[in-house]
């Protein structure tokens, strides 16, 4: 039997909190991290409701001096999440850790586009064609992994999945495969995103993927703009964030005597091969079914499904249909929630945040709710509306689907030492 893949550390940096504890506390309290932000000026951005990680990143008091030359927000969020997860695993000061055997898989959909935006504006004012020497190193998507490797002194293989909104889940799968393939004993994996540039925000708005409705319940209360699975859902709200897991082979975790937090029991990933941005329900179903099969879990054994649940009309309908197809009669009683109601959509980071939240849910034995929920007569699953719920959770699934037709599903199991 192959070595089991276990989680020994997890972290999240979100608009609800700068760390995992405050993020979790916000989620189970039913709070939203989404606000109207004055910095998203109407002459540049079509939408000003957003989820920011306040007080963290370049130019703030909490700026990480190790990466201050590279002021891409996603990179700074990645550093913070990586340091937190590494601390959580207790791997900070371990002279017995073979650092050549630690892999990194840290993804992002857009990387340092904010840096490009700022540099284009500066260069337009400059005589000549000079460009900052920090632009290229700062905006490449693999620089987060590079900086984490440099500053945490990790020397195994590194990779940066750029799989749109599935990047974080893909990172966990790549990490698990590296562990299973014998390429590493530990893997720091996750994703980070901050893509608040005019063209990106407005591009999502033009696609009608972004919440952009006037005369709506969010007009007075912007925190209600993201409302997955609700009858009046009208698109996602863009946010930023990062999250990481520290995965290990069970034998490596035991060798170092690390507390095991959960098992990554199984996973699946596939491609729609269908459309640049629309999901293909049949392939999504296949992805979920494969994750069940490869985990050796029956539909009845899944105690909670953490949804992609973007709050777009199309996604939430397709995801609900896929759950009914894959879970059969169990779908009617399966608790399904989307934390994007509270956190908005952090694009590439979202699935990493959701994976970390699943690990925390297993430990806390509680399900975070889908906030801002109002029923949709066509969507009739148990969406854990508005209030968190204590639950006996043994096995949970989290799925994510990205533009470009790229899907993944992760299955985590509660760890018991017997």
């Amino acid at each position: 039997m192959p070595d089991r893949i276990v989680v020994v550390g997890h972290s999240a940096v979100t608009c609800l909190g700068r760390d995992m504890d405050s993020t979790w506390e916000g989620l189970v309290s039913g709070r939203s991290g989404l606000r109207r932000r004055e910095s998203l000026r109407a002459d540049v951005f079509q939408q000003s409701i957003a989820g920011f990680v306040d007080g963290l990143g370049p130019g703030t008091d909490a700026e990480d001096p190790a990466v201050s030359r590279l002021p891409a927000r996603s990179l700074h969020l990645a550093m913070r999440a990586a340091r937190d997860a590494w601390n959580d695993a207790g791997l900070d000061e371990r002279p017995d850790l073979d650092r050549d055997r630690v892999a990194l898989a840290i993804g992002s959909a857009f990387g340092g586009l904010d840096l490009l935006d700022a540099e284009v504006a500066r260069a337009a004012q400059r005589k000549g064609l000079t460009t900052s020497p920090y632009l290229v190193p700062g905006m490449i998507i693999n620089q987060s992994a590079g900086q984490v490797a440099q500053h945490l002194k990790l020397y195994g293989p590194s990779i940066a999945p750029a799989n749109a909104c599935a990047s974080g889940g893909h990172a966990a799968i790549i990490a698990a495969l590296l562990l299973r393939g014998g390429e590493a004993d530990f893997a720091l994996c996750g994703a980070a995103e901050s893509a608040f540039t005019g063209p990106i925000v407005n591009g999502f708005a033009t696609m009608k993927a972004l919440f952009n409705r006037k005369d709506d319940r969010a007009s007075d209360d912007p925190s209600q703009a993201s409302r997955p699975f609700s009858g009046d859902r009208a698109g996602f709200v863009l946010s930023e964030g990062a999250a990481m897991l520290v995965l290990a082979t069970e034998s490596a975790a035991r060798r170092l005597g690390l507390p095991i937090q959960a098992e990554l029991l199984g996973w699946s990933w596939n491609s729609d091969g269908y459309h640049m941005a629309m999901p293909d329900g049949a392939r999504v179903s296949k992805c979920l079914a494969a994750a069940l099969a490869r985990s050796g879990a029956t539909p009845e054994e899944i105690d909670y499904y953490n949804a992609h649940g973007t709050s777009t009309v199309v996604n939430d309908k397709a995801e609900t249909a896929a759950l009914k197809e894959v879970f059969g009669p169990r779908a009617a009683t399966l608790p399904v929630s989307s934390i994007k109601g509270a956190l908005g959509h952090a694009l590439g980071a979202a699935s990493a945040i959701e994976a970390a939240v699943c690990v925390r849910a297993l430990r806390a034995q509680a399900i975070p709710p889908t906030i801002n929920y109002r029923p949709d007569p066509d969507l009739d699953l148990d969406y854990v509306p508005n209030l968190s719920r204590p639950a006996a959770l043994r096995t949970v699934m989290s799925a994510s689907f990205g533009f470009g037709g790229t899907n993944n599903a992760l299955v985590f199991r509660r760890w018991t030492d017997d």
């Binding site: 201050s68 400059r126 000079t130 020497p133 190193p137």
Partner: protein, 85 residues
């Protein structure tokens, strides 16, 4: 000796861009690479920041002669002087 405001602000710019510690001594005649240990990437970062802050163009041909803070100040003075003329 009191340093000129330009030297003071350039010293601060060099310290900030190259992330030199607050305790690191930077004299007007300190050589950026040899004495302060600034690497090639940060050296370009210093030149670009100067272009942004002082609205001057630094060409590749100028770079070889810009070895100290003093050199930078003289270069900026000359360029701004000629622009004003």
């Amino acid at each position: 000796m009191t340093e000129s405001p330009l030297i003071v602000s350039l010293t601060s710019l060099v310290r900030s861009v190259a992330k030199l510690p607050a305790a690191a001594r930077i004299d007007p005649e300190s050589r950026l690479v040899e004495d302060l240990g600034i690497d090639s990437l940060d050296l370009v970062g210093v030149f670009v920041k100067i272009q942004d802050e002082y609205d001057v163009l630094i060409d590749d041909d100028d770079v070889a002669s810009l070895r100290t803070v003093e050199d930078l100040a003289a270069f900026i003075g000359k360029r701004q002087g000629s622009a004003a003329a």
